[in-house]
Symmetry: C2
Subunit: 333 residues, 2 copies
DNA sequence: ATGAAAGCGCTAACAG
DNA sequence: CTGTTAGCGCTTTCAT
């Protein structure tokens, strides 16, 4: 491996000059730059990451704390991760992957100068990891809004607004017998932030319109969807409007609707809360509120970079939910 | 952040002594060790990762090259990743996440001393990334067996044997009208290694038993499964044995079988090739050949560590497929 | 516009 | 069993 000294020698300049053409932190004559760049190319020189981080106190890597358990929505997680990794590369950063069930991992990564900032996903309303995160004194970004952000940056969909939006849209279409099929009991039991906020928005909006707020969790599977719809129809046989926030159960819900002789888009209006490609990938293209997971991952990185570069204050970014009408909703009567 | 010198001073020893109690590379008196460890704890000392890697030429991190596209089986990918990350932690290694669509990424990580070894997933039969990988002169492990391993370590399920095993098992149960519902056309079109080997094993074994080797790809969705089964029944209306290697299409296939009046386990024997929890999580617990994804991720790390420590030669580890009988298969006649 | 040189924090000879 | 010290390869003052 060539070092910076090798390059300097080959180009007939000093080490610092090489360093500066690389960083652009001081002006370099065209001729010198040309020679240095040629030497770099010719020697295949790459700065040694460790040496760089030692001298500059920047690691150029981001830690991503991801839930790799099976009970979360794997597809959505993957989209977050995709957004984070690709946007990190735009900033010339790399991504270190930490898992949630390695609680010391976060501390280790931060205090051993492995990373410049941390991004944490799957945040619970009262997440026990947040105090630890705050103590680390490193830039940190949450994907998911906790009750108390403790001065950390946050990006999330405004799930409460999403719950309201879904109800309002169904009400405007003339529906008054509504239900919500939501995340798994486990997710709810963990007080996962997004789930609680969605439900809150949904319930409040329903109550404001004098509607009975029926909510059923569903296991994250086809069968889970079938069973949840069964329970919903038991409680509310005259159902005409349905909100579903559970990717894995979605196909089951739709199949069960059809099986019950009440196909989506004909006798029941269905609004899904999920990534757009999931909504369009069902048998029937679904009216949906988009969960822009890739975009959220990207924003998380941007927020982290702003904190690293020290210019910006911590920031809470709640994305406005957007509803796209497709074929699963209709005007009643 | 406390440095090693701070610890040394606090414990009244030299820097090297601190370093050696940490690495265990030379013997330390009980008393000294106690004092050093106390100082470390008290100061909350963590070695600076960059300084360490600069001095020791070891980064204690592994690069994981993962496909983050949507068209791969997200669930299985996640299991590989889980296995890799958790096993890496057992070796006190961290994991740097690279994506496949960042082709320079691999080279960058390797040549800038970011990582000690690389693990690459989703290998194609004639994968264009392999020559590049070989040139890097760094330990590398493939999850997936290419045609030419070029001296790299490999872990994979023996998919060819899995194809044979499935056919043999069905034949032993008295089935002679068999079909295979496989991965998506895209995956097949990319000449993904595992897909081709599974098909080869399946076809050869079928031919040896004088059976017509019917193979249908399926899109990775419920509908994809329904449609694929439709095509299979068109070609082979008297089907009694079915092998399915497509997690996402599995529920659709099962539903369509029931809809066609030929429920799995009653008139058609179904063998799934998938992680065990997927097989047991269907309506009917499926007889399956396990895809031990977490385990494969773990083995990949072990192979990488063996190469890093320089003791072992590159190694190809093909896992023997194991079939578990559950309720979707039965003896014919 | 460029160079010299002092670290950054750690490891691993070498010396005892 | 422990200490001294020379780097590892880079960034960044301080000089010029």
């Amino acid at each position: 491996m060539a070092t910076i000294s090798d390059v300097a020698r080959a180009a007939g300049v000093s080490n610092s000059t090489v360093s500066y053409v690389l960083s652009g932190k001081r002006s370099i004559s065209a001729e010198t730059r040309r020679r240095v760049e040629a030497a770099i190319r010719q020697l295949g020189y790459r700065p040694h990451a460790g040496a760089r981080s030692l001298a500059s106190r920047r690691t150029w890597t981001l830690a991503l704390v991801a839930p790799l358990r099976a009970d979360v929505n794997v597809g959505v997680i993957m989209k977050f991760v995709t957004g984070v990794v690709t946007r990190a590369r735009d900033h010339e950063m790399d991504v270190l992957l930490l898992t949630q069930d390695d609680p010391q991992g976060v501390e280790r990564a931060a205090t051993s100068s492995l990373v410049d900032a941390l991004i944490m996903m799957d945040i619970e309303a009262d997440d026990p990891r947040i105090p630890t995160l705050v103590e680390l004194q490193r830039p940190a970004v949450l994907i998911g809004l906790p009750e108390d952000t403790r001065g950390l940056s946050v990006v999330d969909l405004d799930f409460e607004a999403a719950g309201r939006l879904a109800v309002q849209h169904l009400v405007e279409l003339g529906h008054r017998r509504l239900a919500l099929i939501g995340p798994t009991p486990t997710v709810l039991g963990r007080h996962t932030s997004y789930a609680e906020r969605l439900l809150r928005g949904y319930r409040r909006s329903a109550e404001e319109s004098d509607l009975e707020p029926v909510v059923e969790p569903a296991e994250a599977s086809h069968v889970g969807g079938v069973e949840a719809l069964g329970r919903v129809l038991d409680r509310m046989p005259d159902l005409t409007g349905l909100v579903v926030h559970n990717e894995a159960a979605l196909p089951g819900v739709l199949a069960a609707l059809t099986a019950a002789g009440r196909p989506a888009g004909r006798t029941v209006s269905v609004i899904a809360l999920c990534p757009a490609d999931v909504a369009t990938g069902q048998q029937l293209p679904l009216t949906s509120i988009d969960l822009p997971a890739v975009r959220m991952g990207e924003i998380a990185v941007d927020l982290a970079m702003a904190r690293i570069e020290g210019v910006e204050d911590p920031e809470i970014r709640l994305l406005m939910p957007r509803l796209t009408e497709r074929e699963s909703t209709f005007r009643l009567g």
